[in-house]
Symmetry: C2
Subunit: 300 residues, 2 copies
Amino acid sequence: MGGMSCQIRVVERAMADNEQWFTEKCEEGGNAFGLRIKGKLHEEQSRYQKIEVYETTDWGNLMVLDGYTMVSSLDNFLYHEMMVHPALFIHPAPQRVAIIGGGDCGTLREVLKHPEVEQVTQIDIDERVTRVSEQFFPELCESNQDPRAELLFIDGIEWMQQAKAGSLDIIIVDSTDPIGPGEVLFSADFYRACQRALADGGLMIQQSESPLIHQLIIQRMYRNLHDSGFSDVKSLFFPQPIYPSGWWSATLGRKGAAIEGFREQDVAQRSFETRYYNSDIHRAAFAVPEFFRKILEPQS
Amino acid sequence: MGGMSCQIRVVERAMADNEQWFTEKCEEGGNAFGLRIKGKLHEEQSRYQKIEVYETTDWGNLMVLDGYTMVSSLDNFLYHEMMVHPALFIHPAPQRVAIIGGGDCGTLREVLKHPEVEQVTQIDIDERVTRVSEQFFPELCESNQDPRAELLFIDGIEWMQQAKAGSLDIIIVDSTDPIGPGEVLFSADFYRACQRALADGGLMIQQSESPLIHQLIIQRMYRNLHDSGFSDVKSLFFPQPIYPSGWWSATLGRKGAAIEGFREQDVAQRSFETRYYNSDIHRAAFAVPEFFRKILEPQS
Protein backbone atom coordinates (compact mmCIF):
# COMPACT_ATOMS: atom_id res chain seq x y z
CA MET A 1 0.00 0.00 0.00
CA GLY A 2 1.01 3.63 0.02
CA GLY A 3 1.80 6.05 -2.76
CA MET A 4 -1.47 7.17 -4.27
CA SER A 5 -0.94 10.82 -5.01
CA CYS A 6 -1.76 10.65 -8.64
CA GLN A 7 -4.92 10.84 -10.55
CA ILE A 8 -5.04 9.71 -14.11
CA ARG A 9 -4.45 6.20 -15.22
CA VAL A 10 -3.87 5.28 -18.80
CA VAL A 11 -3.26 1.92 -20.33
CA GLU A 12 -1.64 2.90 -23.53
CA ARG A 13 -0.94 0.81 -26.54
CA ALA A 14 2.21 1.98 -28.27
CA MET A 15 1.40 1.96 -31.93
CA ALA A 16 4.91 1.28 -33.16
CA ASP A 17 5.30 -2.12 -31.61
CA ASN A 18 2.04 -3.17 -30.01
CA GLU A 19 3.56 -2.90 -26.57
CA GLN A 20 1.15 -2.26 -23.73
CA TRP A 21 2.03 -0.01 -20.82
CA PHE A 22 0.29 0.82 -17.58
CA THR A 23 0.96 4.47 -16.77
CA GLU A 24 0.07 6.42 -13.65
CA LYS A 25 0.11 10.15 -14.11
CA CYS A 26 0.77 12.25 -11.04
CA GLU A 27 -1.37 15.32 -11.66
CA GLU A 28 -0.03 17.48 -8.86
CA GLY A 29 3.58 16.69 -9.76
CA GLY A 30 3.31 16.73 -13.55
CA ASN A 31 5.22 13.44 -13.71
CA ALA A 32 4.29 9.90 -14.69
CA PHE A 33 5.53 6.36 -14.14
CA GLY A 34 4.79 3.41 -16.34
CA LEU A 35 5.41 -0.32 -16.51
CA ARG A 36 5.28 -2.45 -19.64
CA ILE A 37 2.59 -5.08 -19.26
CA LYS A 38 1.72 -8.41 -20.78
CA GLY A 39 -1.91 -8.09 -19.79
CA LYS A 40 -4.49 -7.71 -17.05
CA LEU A 41 -4.82 -10.63 -14.63
CA HIS A 42 -7.70 -9.37 -12.53
CA GLU A 43 -10.24 -6.60 -12.19
CA GLU A 44 -13.03 -6.12 -9.70
CA GLN A 45 -14.97 -3.35 -8.04
CA SER A 46 -14.96 -4.03 -4.33
CA ARG A 47 -17.25 -2.23 -1.95
CA TYR A 48 -14.50 0.36 -1.47
CA GLN A 49 -12.42 0.60 -4.62
CA LYS A 50 -11.51 -0.77 -8.02
CA ILE A 51 -8.84 -3.45 -7.69
CA GLU A 52 -6.74 -4.37 -10.71
CA VAL A 53 -3.75 -6.66 -11.16
CA TYR A 54 -1.48 -6.51 -14.20
CA GLU A 55 1.24 -8.88 -15.28
CA THR A 56 4.26 -6.80 -16.24
CA THR A 57 7.12 -7.85 -18.49
CA ASP A 58 9.92 -7.12 -15.97
CA TRP A 59 8.43 -6.11 -12.60
CA GLY A 60 6.33 -9.18 -11.81
CA ASN A 61 2.72 -8.49 -10.88
CA LEU A 62 1.38 -5.01 -10.24
CA MET A 63 -1.61 -4.18 -8.01
CA VAL A 64 -3.51 -1.00 -8.75
CA LEU A 65 -6.24 0.52 -6.55
CA ASP A 66 -8.54 3.11 -8.10
CA GLY A 67 -5.85 3.71 -10.72
CA TYR A 68 -2.97 4.17 -8.30
CA THR A 69 0.00 1.78 -8.33
CA MET A 70 0.22 0.04 -4.97
CA VAL A 71 2.62 -2.90 -5.12
CA SER A 72 4.89 -4.51 -7.68
CA SER A 73 6.65 -7.84 -7.13
CA LEU A 74 10.02 -6.34 -8.06
CA ASP A 75 10.33 -3.32 -5.82
CA ASN A 76 7.90 -3.71 -2.90
CA PHE A 77 10.71 -4.99 -0.66
CA LEU A 78 12.08 -1.45 -0.42
CA TYR A 79 8.84 -0.03 0.93
CA HIS A 80 7.82 -2.94 3.16
CA GLU A 81 11.22 -3.33 4.79
CA MET A 82 11.49 0.39 5.50
CA MET A 83 7.96 0.62 6.93
CA VAL A 84 8.84 -2.09 9.45
CA HIS A 85 12.45 -2.73 10.41
CA PRO A 86 13.67 0.75 11.41
CA ALA A 87 10.78 1.28 13.86
CA LEU A 88 10.93 -2.24 15.27
CA PHE A 89 14.70 -2.08 15.80
CA ILE A 90 14.44 1.35 17.44
CA HIS A 91 11.95 -0.01 19.97
CA PRO A 92 13.68 -1.99 22.73
CA ALA A 93 11.01 -4.72 22.82
CA PRO A 94 8.30 -4.46 20.14
CA GLN A 95 5.72 -6.98 21.33
CA ARG A 96 2.34 -5.50 20.37
CA VAL A 97 1.93 -4.15 16.85
CA ALA A 98 -1.01 -2.70 14.90
CA ILE A 99 -1.04 -2.14 11.14
CA ILE A 100 -3.66 0.26 9.80
CA GLY A 101 -4.22 -0.51 6.12
CA GLY A 102 -1.59 -2.83 4.71
CA GLY A 103 -4.13 -5.13 3.06
CA ASP A 104 -1.55 -6.61 0.68
CA CYS A 105 0.05 -8.15 3.81
CA GLY A 106 3.66 -7.31 2.85
CA THR A 107 4.09 -5.16 5.95
CA LEU A 108 2.56 -7.89 8.13
CA ARG A 109 5.05 -10.41 6.77
CA GLU A 110 8.01 -8.19 7.69
CA VAL A 111 6.65 -7.53 11.19
CA LEU A 112 6.24 -11.25 11.85
CA LYS A 113 9.92 -11.83 11.09
CA HIS A 114 10.71 -10.22 14.45
CA PRO A 115 10.78 -12.87 17.19
CA GLU A 116 9.99 -10.26 19.87
CA VAL A 117 6.57 -9.65 18.35
CA GLU A 118 3.80 -11.40 20.29
CA GLN A 119 0.75 -10.01 18.54
CA VAL A 120 0.04 -8.13 15.30
CA THR A 121 -3.38 -6.83 14.39
CA GLN A 122 -3.85 -5.71 10.81
CA ILE A 123 -6.91 -3.56 10.24
CA ASP A 124 -7.77 -2.90 6.61
CA ILE A 125 -11.32 -2.03 5.68
CA ASP A 126 -11.24 -3.89 2.35
CA GLU A 127 -10.97 -7.66 2.69
CA ARG A 128 -10.89 -8.02 -1.09
CA VAL A 129 -7.41 -6.43 -1.26
CA THR A 130 -6.10 -9.20 0.98
CA ARG A 131 -7.86 -11.92 -0.98
CA VAL A 132 -6.51 -10.58 -4.26
CA SER A 133 -3.03 -10.32 -2.74
CA GLU A 134 -3.23 -13.94 -1.56
CA GLN A 135 -3.89 -14.92 -5.15
CA PHE A 136 -1.41 -12.71 -7.02
CA PHE A 137 1.23 -11.90 -4.39
CA PRO A 138 1.36 -15.15 -2.40
CA GLU A 139 4.88 -14.34 -1.19
CA LEU A 140 3.54 -11.28 0.65
CA CYS A 141 0.86 -13.38 2.34
CA GLU A 142 3.03 -16.29 3.40
CA SER A 143 2.77 -15.36 7.09
CA ASN A 144 -0.97 -14.65 7.20
CA GLN A 145 -1.60 -17.91 9.10
CA ASP A 146 0.97 -17.09 11.80
CA PRO A 147 -0.84 -17.57 15.15
CA ARG A 148 0.45 -14.17 16.28
CA ALA A 149 -1.42 -12.44 13.43
CA GLU A 150 -4.99 -11.19 13.52
CA LEU A 151 -6.54 -9.82 10.33
CA LEU A 152 -9.54 -7.55 10.79
CA PHE A 153 -11.53 -6.06 7.95
CA ILE A 154 -13.12 -3.11 9.68
CA ASP A 155 -12.58 0.64 9.98
CA GLY A 156 -9.07 1.30 11.29
CA ILE A 157 -9.85 4.70 12.77
CA GLU A 158 -12.68 3.35 14.95
CA TRP A 159 -10.48 0.44 15.98
CA MET A 160 -7.75 2.83 17.07
CA GLN A 161 -10.16 5.07 18.97
CA GLN A 162 -11.37 2.05 20.91
CA ALA A 163 -7.92 0.53 21.53
CA LYS A 164 -6.92 0.34 25.16
CA ALA A 165 -4.65 3.20 26.22
CA GLY A 166 -1.00 2.17 26.33
CA SER A 167 -1.72 -1.19 24.71
CA LEU A 168 0.57 -0.94 21.67
CA ASP A 169 4.31 -0.71 21.11
CA ILE A 170 4.23 -0.02 17.38
CA ILE A 171 1.60 1.43 15.02
CA ILE A 172 2.27 1.22 11.29
CA VAL A 173 -0.01 3.28 9.08
CA ASP A 174 0.38 1.63 5.69
CA SER A 175 -2.33 3.56 4.00
CA THR A 176 -3.28 5.31 0.84
CA ASP A 177 -2.86 9.02 0.27
CA PRO A 178 -3.99 12.00 2.30
CA ILE A 179 -6.26 12.77 -0.65
CA GLY A 180 -9.71 11.21 -0.57
CA PRO A 181 -10.56 8.35 1.82
CA GLY A 182 -7.07 8.22 3.34
CA GLU A 183 -7.18 11.88 4.42
CA VAL A 184 -8.48 11.28 7.93
CA LEU A 185 -5.44 9.03 8.60
CA PHE A 186 -3.29 12.18 8.42
CA SER A 187 -5.45 14.20 10.84
CA ALA A 188 -4.51 15.33 14.35
CA ASP A 189 -7.61 13.49 15.64
CA PHE A 190 -6.32 10.16 14.37
CA TYR A 191 -2.81 10.89 15.62
CA ARG A 192 -4.19 11.63 19.09
CA ALA A 193 -5.93 8.24 19.09
CA CYS A 194 -2.65 6.59 18.10
CA GLN A 195 -0.68 8.48 20.72
CA ARG A 196 -3.19 7.37 23.36
CA ALA A 197 -3.04 3.73 22.28
CA LEU A 198 0.77 3.63 22.40
CA ALA A 199 2.67 2.69 25.53
CA ASP A 200 5.49 4.97 26.65
CA GLY A 201 8.39 4.72 24.23
CA GLY A 202 6.04 3.42 21.54
CA LEU A 203 6.45 4.42 17.91
CA MET A 204 4.10 5.25 15.10
CA ILE A 205 5.29 5.19 11.48
CA GLN A 206 3.31 6.34 8.46
CA GLN A 207 4.17 6.53 4.77
CA SER A 208 4.57 10.23 3.98
CA GLU A 209 4.82 10.61 0.21
CA SER A 210 7.59 12.07 -1.98
CA PRO A 211 10.07 14.47 -0.33
CA LEU A 212 10.35 16.23 -3.68
CA ILE A 213 6.68 16.60 -4.60
CA HIS A 214 4.60 16.46 -1.40
CA GLN A 215 6.29 18.89 0.94
CA LEU A 216 3.06 20.55 2.08
CA ILE A 217 1.68 17.17 3.14
CA ILE A 218 4.82 16.43 5.12
CA GLN A 219 4.83 19.83 6.81
CA ARG A 220 1.22 19.28 7.88
CA MET A 221 2.03 15.81 9.21
CA TYR A 222 4.82 17.23 11.36
CA ARG A 223 2.49 19.88 12.79
CA ASN A 224 -0.27 17.37 13.48
CA LEU A 225 2.05 14.80 15.06
CA HIS A 226 3.58 17.42 17.35
CA ASP A 227 0.16 18.80 18.20
CA SER A 228 -1.03 15.31 19.11
CA GLY A 229 1.51 14.93 21.87
CA PHE A 230 4.29 12.96 20.18
CA SER A 231 7.63 13.80 21.83
CA ASP A 232 9.75 13.46 18.72
CA VAL A 233 9.04 13.32 14.98
CA LYS A 234 11.53 12.25 12.30
CA SER A 235 11.40 11.08 8.69
CA LEU A 236 13.24 8.39 6.85
CA PHE A 237 13.89 8.29 3.10
CA PHE A 238 14.11 5.42 0.67
CA PRO A 239 13.76 4.64 -3.03
CA GLN A 240 10.41 3.33 -4.25
CA PRO A 241 10.39 3.34 -8.06
CA ILE A 242 6.67 2.74 -8.64
CA TYR A 243 5.59 5.73 -6.53
CA PRO A 244 5.65 9.29 -7.92
CA SER A 245 9.25 10.55 -8.37
CA GLY A 246 10.69 7.19 -7.26
CA TRP A 247 11.78 8.72 -3.97
CA TRP A 248 9.63 8.17 -0.91
CA SER A 249 9.49 8.92 2.80
CA ALA A 250 7.95 7.63 6.00
CA THR A 251 7.50 9.71 9.12
CA LEU A 252 7.79 8.47 12.70
CA GLY A 253 6.38 9.85 15.91
CA ARG A 254 7.45 8.58 19.33
CA LYS A 255 5.62 8.80 22.63
CA GLY A 256 7.64 10.03 25.58
CA ALA A 257 11.09 9.47 24.09
CA ALA A 258 13.43 10.63 21.36
CA ILE A 259 13.74 8.77 18.05
CA GLU A 260 17.40 7.84 18.26
CA GLY A 261 19.59 4.79 18.51
CA PHE A 262 18.55 1.28 17.56
CA ARG A 263 19.31 -2.33 18.50
CA GLU A 264 22.28 -2.56 16.16
CA GLN A 265 23.52 -5.84 17.64
CA ASP A 266 20.13 -7.39 17.01
CA VAL A 267 20.17 -6.15 13.42
CA ALA A 268 23.57 -7.77 12.87
CA GLN A 269 22.38 -11.03 14.45
CA ARG A 270 18.87 -11.04 12.97
CA SER A 271 17.46 -14.44 12.17
CA PHE A 272 15.87 -13.35 8.90
CA GLU A 273 17.03 -12.13 5.52
CA THR A 274 16.47 -8.65 4.21
CA ARG A 275 17.07 -7.34 0.71
CA TYR A 276 17.46 -3.61 1.42
CA TYR A 277 17.64 -3.03 5.17
CA ASN A 278 20.76 -3.38 7.29
CA SER A 279 22.42 -1.26 9.98
CA ASP A 280 24.08 1.07 7.49
CA ILE A 281 20.80 1.58 5.65
CA HIS A 282 19.04 2.23 8.96
CA ARG A 283 21.38 5.11 9.78
CA ALA A 284 21.41 6.33 6.18
CA ALA A 285 17.63 6.47 5.91
CA PHE A 286 17.44 9.12 8.62
CA ALA A 287 19.90 11.48 6.90
CA VAL A 288 18.00 14.68 6.18
CA PRO A 289 18.63 16.40 2.82
CA GLU A 290 19.55 20.05 3.11
CA PHE A 291 16.34 21.32 1.44
CA PHE A 292 14.19 19.11 3.65
CA ARG A 293 15.79 20.59 6.76
CA LYS A 294 14.66 23.98 5.52
CA ILE A 295 11.04 23.05 4.85
CA LEU A 296 10.79 21.83 8.45
CA GLU A 297 12.15 25.01 9.99
CA PRO A 298 9.44 26.81 11.96
CA GLN A 299 7.69 29.43 9.86
CA SER A 300 8.38 32.83 11.37
CA MET B 1 24.27 14.37 -18.24
CA GLY B 2 23.98 10.73 -17.25
CA GLY B 3 21.08 8.35 -17.29
CA MET B 4 20.55 7.21 -20.83
CA SER B 5 19.69 3.56 -20.52
CA CYS B 6 16.41 3.74 -22.31
CA GLN B 7 15.51 3.58 -25.89
CA ILE B 8 12.12 4.70 -27.00
CA ARG B 9 10.88 8.22 -26.73
CA VAL B 10 7.28 9.14 -27.16
CA VAL B 11 5.65 12.49 -27.03
CA GLU B 12 2.13 11.50 -26.33
CA ARG B 13 -0.96 13.59 -26.49
CA ALA B 14 -3.49 12.42 -23.95
CA MET B 15 -6.77 12.40 -25.74
CA ALA B 16 -8.92 13.06 -22.71
CA ASP B 17 -7.57 16.46 -21.88
CA ASN B 18 -5.15 17.55 -24.56
CA GLU B 19 -2.26 17.31 -22.14
CA GLN B 20 1.13 16.67 -23.68
CA TRP B 21 3.68 14.42 -22.03
CA PHE B 22 7.27 13.58 -22.81
CA THR B 23 7.85 9.92 -21.94
CA GLU B 24 11.09 7.97 -21.95
CA LYS B 25 10.63 4.23 -22.05
CA CYS B 26 13.41 2.13 -20.58
CA GLU B 27 13.40 -0.92 -22.81
CA GLU B 28 15.71 -3.10 -20.74
CA GLY B 29 13.85 -2.31 -17.53
CA GLY B 30 10.29 -2.34 -18.82
CA ASN B 31 9.61 0.94 -17.03
CA ALA B 32 8.92 4.49 -18.18
CA PHE B 33 9.13 8.01 -16.83
CA GLY B 34 7.21 10.98 -18.14
CA LEU B 35 6.89 14.70 -17.59
CA ARG B 36 3.92 16.85 -18.57
CA ILE B 37 5.04 19.49 -21.04
CA LYS B 38 3.83 22.82 -22.30
CA GLY B 39 5.78 22.50 -25.52
CA LYS B 40 9.12 22.12 -27.24
CA LEU B 41 11.54 25.04 -26.88
CA HIS B 42 14.36 23.77 -29.06
CA GLU B 43 15.39 21.01 -31.41
CA GLU B 44 18.56 20.53 -33.41
CA GLN B 45 20.67 17.77 -34.83
CA SER B 46 24.24 18.46 -33.78
CA ARG B 47 27.17 16.64 -35.33
CA TYR B 48 26.85 14.04 -32.58
CA GLN B 49 23.26 13.81 -31.44
CA LYS B 50 19.74 15.18 -31.51
CA ILE B 51 19.31 17.85 -28.84
CA GLU B 52 15.83 18.78 -27.65
CA VAL B 53 14.58 21.06 -24.90
CA TYR B 54 11.03 20.91 -23.55
CA GLU B 55 9.23 23.28 -21.23
CA THR B 56 7.47 21.19 -18.59
CA THR B 57 4.52 22.24 -16.46
CA ASP B 58 6.16 21.50 -13.09
CA TRP B 59 9.82 20.50 -13.58
CA GLY B 60 11.17 23.56 -15.38
CA ASN B 61 13.06 22.87 -18.60
CA LEU B 62 14.04 19.39 -19.72
CA MET B 63 17.01 18.58 -21.97
CA VAL B 64 16.81 15.40 -24.02
CA LEU B 65 19.68 13.87 -26.03
CA ASP B 66 18.82 11.29 -28.68
CA GLY B 67 15.57 10.68 -26.81
CA TYR B 68 17.10 10.22 -23.37
CA THR B 69 16.23 12.61 -20.54
CA MET B 70 19.42 14.35 -19.38
CA VAL B 71 18.60 17.28 -17.12
CA SER B 72 15.53 18.91 -15.64
CA SER B 73 15.57 22.22 -13.79
CA LEU B 74 13.75 20.71 -10.81
CA ASP B 75 15.80 17.68 -9.91
CA ASN B 76 19.29 18.07 -11.42
CA PHE B 77 20.65 19.34 -8.10
CA LEU B 78 20.50 15.81 -6.73
CA TYR B 79 22.70 14.39 -9.46
CA HIS B 80 25.13 17.28 -9.82
CA GLU B 81 25.76 17.66 -6.10
CA MET B 82 26.36 13.93 -5.66
CA MET B 83 28.71 13.72 -8.67
CA VAL B 84 30.89 16.43 -7.12
CA HIS B 85 30.82 17.05 -3.37
CA PRO B 86 31.44 13.56 -1.93
CA ALA B 87 34.59 13.04 -4.04
CA LEU B 88 35.91 16.55 -3.49
CA PHE B 89 35.37 16.38 0.26
CA ILE B 90 37.03 12.94 0.46
CA HIS B 91 40.15 14.30 -1.24
CA PRO B 92 42.32 16.27 1.21
CA ALA B 93 43.14 19.01 -1.33
CA PRO B 94 41.31 18.76 -4.66
CA GLN B 95 43.17 21.29 -6.81
CA ARG B 96 43.19 19.83 -10.33
CA VAL B 97 39.92 18.47 -11.70
CA ALA B 98 38.86 17.04 -15.06
CA ILE B 99 35.25 16.49 -16.14
CA ILE B 100 34.68 14.10 -19.03
CA GLY B 101 31.31 14.89 -20.59
CA GLY B 102 29.22 17.20 -18.43
CA GLY B 103 28.34 19.51 -21.33
CA ASP B 104 25.35 20.99 -19.50
CA CYS B 105 27.92 22.52 -17.10
CA GLY B 106 25.99 21.67 -13.90
CA THR B 107 28.86 19.52 -12.63
CA LEU B 108 31.37 22.24 -13.49
CA ARG B 109 29.39 24.76 -11.47
CA GLU B 110 29.44 22.53 -8.37
CA VAL B 111 33.19 21.86 -8.72
CA LEU B 112 33.94 25.59 -8.91
CA LYS B 113 32.19 26.17 -5.59
CA HIS B 114 35.19 24.53 -3.91
CA PRO B 115 37.81 27.18 -3.08
CA GLU B 116 40.61 24.57 -3.09
CA VAL B 117 40.09 23.96 -6.80
CA GLU B 118 42.72 25.72 -8.92
CA GLN B 119 41.88 24.34 -12.35
CA VAL B 120 38.96 22.47 -13.93
CA THR B 121 39.03 21.18 -17.47
CA GLN B 122 35.72 20.08 -18.92
CA ILE B 123 36.02 17.94 -22.02
CA ASP B 124 32.76 17.29 -23.86
CA ILE B 125 32.85 16.43 -27.53
CA ASP B 126 29.62 18.28 -28.36
CA GLU B 127 29.88 22.05 -27.99
CA ARG B 128 26.22 22.42 -28.95
CA VAL B 129 25.10 20.82 -25.66
CA THR B 130 26.89 23.58 -23.78
CA ARG B 131 25.50 26.33 -26.02
CA VAL B 132 21.96 24.97 -25.62
CA SER B 133 22.47 24.71 -21.87
CA GLU B 134 23.67 28.34 -21.72
CA GLN B 135 20.40 29.32 -23.35
CA PHE B 136 17.90 27.10 -21.49
CA PHE B 137 19.71 26.28 -18.22
CA PRO B 138 21.59 29.52 -17.54
CA GLU B 139 21.77 28.71 -13.82
CA LEU B 140 23.91 25.65 -14.61
CA CYS B 141 26.29 27.74 -16.71
CA GLU B 142 26.72 30.66 -14.32
CA SER B 143 30.34 29.70 -13.56
CA ASN B 144 31.47 29.01 -17.12
CA GLN B 145 33.47 32.26 -17.18
CA ASP B 146 35.37 31.45 -13.98
CA PRO B 147 39.09 31.92 -14.78
CA ARG B 148 39.81 28.50 -13.24
CA ALA B 149 37.57 26.79 -15.82
CA GLU B 150 38.66 25.55 -19.24
CA LEU B 151 36.02 24.20 -21.62
CA LEU B 152 37.29 21.93 -24.39
CA PHE B 153 35.10 20.46 -27.09
CA ILE B 154 37.19 17.49 -28.15
CA ASP B 155 37.32 13.74 -27.56
CA GLY B 156 37.61 13.08 -23.83
CA ILE B 157 39.24 9.68 -24.19
CA GLU B 158 42.10 11.02 -26.30
CA TRP B 159 42.49 13.91 -23.89
CA MET B 160 42.79 11.52 -20.97
CA GLN B 161 45.27 9.29 -22.76
CA GLN B 162 47.47 12.31 -23.38
CA ALA B 163 47.12 13.82 -19.89
CA LYS B 164 50.35 13.99 -17.92
CA ALA B 165 50.73 11.14 -15.46
CA GLY B 166 49.84 12.14 -11.91
CA SER B 167 48.47 15.51 -13.05
CA LEU B 168 44.91 15.27 -11.69
CA ASP B 169 43.35 15.02 -8.24
CA ILE B 170 39.78 14.33 -9.36
CA ILE B 171 38.24 12.90 -12.54
CA ILE B 172 34.47 13.14 -12.93
CA VAL B 173 32.98 11.08 -15.74
CA ASP B 174 29.61 12.74 -16.29
CA SER B 175 28.73 10.82 -19.38
CA THR B 176 25.94 9.07 -21.17
CA ASP B 177 25.27 5.37 -20.93
CA PRO B 178 27.52 2.39 -21.45
CA ILE B 179 25.31 1.62 -24.45
CA GLY B 180 26.35 3.18 -27.74
CA PRO B 181 28.88 6.06 -27.90
CA GLY B 182 29.39 6.16 -24.12
CA GLU B 183 30.45 2.52 -23.93
CA VAL B 184 34.19 3.12 -24.21
CA LEU B 185 34.00 5.35 -21.10
CA PHE B 186 33.22 2.20 -19.10
CA SER B 187 36.14 0.17 -20.50
CA ALA B 188 39.25 -0.98 -18.66
CA ASP B 189 41.36 0.89 -21.26
CA PHE B 190 39.78 4.20 -20.37
CA TYR B 191 40.00 3.46 -16.64
CA ARG B 192 43.72 2.71 -17.01
CA ALA B 193 44.20 6.11 -18.68
CA CYS B 194 42.35 7.75 -15.78
CA GLN B 195 44.33 5.84 -13.18
CA ARG B 196 47.57 6.96 -14.86
CA ALA B 197 46.48 10.60 -15.00
CA LEU B 198 45.54 10.69 -11.31
CA ALA B 199 48.03 11.62 -8.62
CA ASP B 200 48.33 9.32 -5.61
CA GLY B 201 45.21 9.55 -3.49
CA GLY B 202 43.28 10.88 -6.48
CA LEU B 203 39.66 9.90 -7.09
CA MET B 204 37.62 9.08 -10.14
CA ILE B 205 33.81 9.15 -9.98
CA GLN B 206 31.45 8.02 -12.73
CA GLN B 207 27.68 7.82 -12.92
CA SER B 208 26.79 4.13 -12.76
CA GLU B 209 23.09 3.75 -13.56
CA SER B 210 20.23 2.28 -11.51
CA PRO B 211 21.11 -0.12 -8.68
CA LEU B 212 17.80 -1.87 -9.34
CA ILE B 213 17.96 -2.23 -13.12
CA HIS B 214 21.59 -2.10 -14.23
CA GLN B 215 23.39 -4.54 -11.96
CA LEU B 216 25.36 -6.18 -14.77
CA ILE B 217 26.77 -2.80 -15.79
CA ILE B 218 27.81 -2.07 -12.21
CA GLN B 219 29.42 -5.48 -11.75
CA ARG B 220 31.46 -4.93 -14.93
CA MET B 221 32.51 -1.44 -13.76
CA TYR B 222 33.81 -2.88 -10.50
CA ARG B 223 35.81 -5.53 -12.35
CA ASN B 224 37.25 -3.02 -14.82
CA LEU B 225 38.12 -0.47 -12.13
CA HIS B 226 39.91 -3.09 -10.03
CA ASP B 227 41.67 -4.47 -13.10
CA SER B 228 42.88 -0.98 -13.98
CA GLY B 229 44.82 -0.61 -10.76
CA PHE B 230 42.44 1.35 -8.56
CA SER B 231 43.10 0.49 -4.91
CA ASP B 232 39.52 0.84 -3.73
CA VAL B 233 36.12 0.99 -5.44
CA LYS B 234 32.86 2.07 -3.79
CA SER B 235 29.42 3.25 -4.91
CA LEU B 236 27.15 5.94 -3.64
CA PHE B 237 23.38 6.03 -4.05
CA PHE B 238 20.97 8.92 -4.50
CA PRO B 239 17.52 9.70 -5.86
CA GLN B 240 17.28 11.03 -9.41
CA PRO B 241 13.62 11.02 -10.47
CA ILE B 242 14.08 11.64 -14.22
CA TYR B 243 16.42 8.64 -14.67
CA PRO B 244 15.05 5.09 -15.00
CA SER B 245 13.63 3.82 -11.66
CA GLY B 246 14.31 7.18 -9.97
CA TRP B 247 17.18 5.64 -8.02
CA TRP B 248 20.70 6.19 -9.24
CA SER B 249 24.30 5.42 -8.36
CA ALA B 250 27.80 6.72 -8.95
CA THR B 251 30.93 4.63 -8.54
CA LEU B 252 34.28 5.86 -7.27
CA GLY B 253 37.76 4.48 -7.73
CA ARG B 254 40.74 5.74 -5.76
CA LYS B 255 44.43 5.51 -6.61
CA GLY B 256 46.70 4.26 -3.85
CA ALA B 257 44.32 4.81 -0.94
CA ALA B 258 41.04 3.66 0.55
CA ILE B 259 37.79 5.51 -0.06
CA GLU B 260 36.99 6.44 3.51
CA GLY B 261 36.62 9.48 5.70
CA PHE B 262 36.00 13.01 4.43
CA ARG B 263 36.69 16.60 5.44
CA GLU B 264 33.62 16.84 7.65
CA GLN B 265 34.72 20.11 9.26
CA ASP B 266 35.06 21.67 5.84
CA VAL B 267 31.58 20.44 4.88
CA ALA B 268 30.14 22.05 8.01
CA GLN B 269 31.97 25.30 7.30
CA ARG B 270 31.54 25.33 3.52
CA SER B 271 31.16 28.75 1.97
CA PHE B 272 28.45 27.67 -0.47
CA GLU B 273 24.88 26.46 -0.29
CA THR B 274 23.77 22.98 -1.21
CA ARG B 275 20.24 21.68 -1.60
CA TYR B 276 20.80 17.94 -1.04
CA TYR B 277 24.36 17.35 0.16
CA ASN B 278 25.54 17.68 3.76
CA SER B 279 27.67 15.55 6.10
CA ASP B 280 24.80 13.23 6.99
CA ILE B 281 23.93 12.74 3.32
CA HIS B 282 27.61 12.07 2.56
CA ARG B 283 27.74 9.19 5.01
CA ALA B 284 24.26 7.97 4.04
CA ALA B 285 25.05 7.84 0.34
CA PHE B 286 27.71 5.20 0.90
CA ALA B 287 25.37 2.83 2.78
CA VAL B 288 25.19 -0.36 0.74
CA PRO B 289 21.78 -2.07 0.41
CA GLU B 290 21.79 -5.73 1.35
CA PHE B 291 21.07 -6.99 -2.19
CA PHE B 292 23.80 -4.78 -3.64
CA ARG B 293 26.35 -6.26 -1.25
CA LYS B 294 25.46 -9.65 -2.68
CA ILE B 295 25.80 -8.71 -6.34
CA LEU B 296 29.33 -7.50 -5.59
CA GLU B 297 30.44 -10.67 -3.87
CA PRO B 298 33.10 -12.46 -5.93
CA GLN B 299 31.57 -15.06 -8.22
CA SER B 300 32.83 -18.47 -7.18
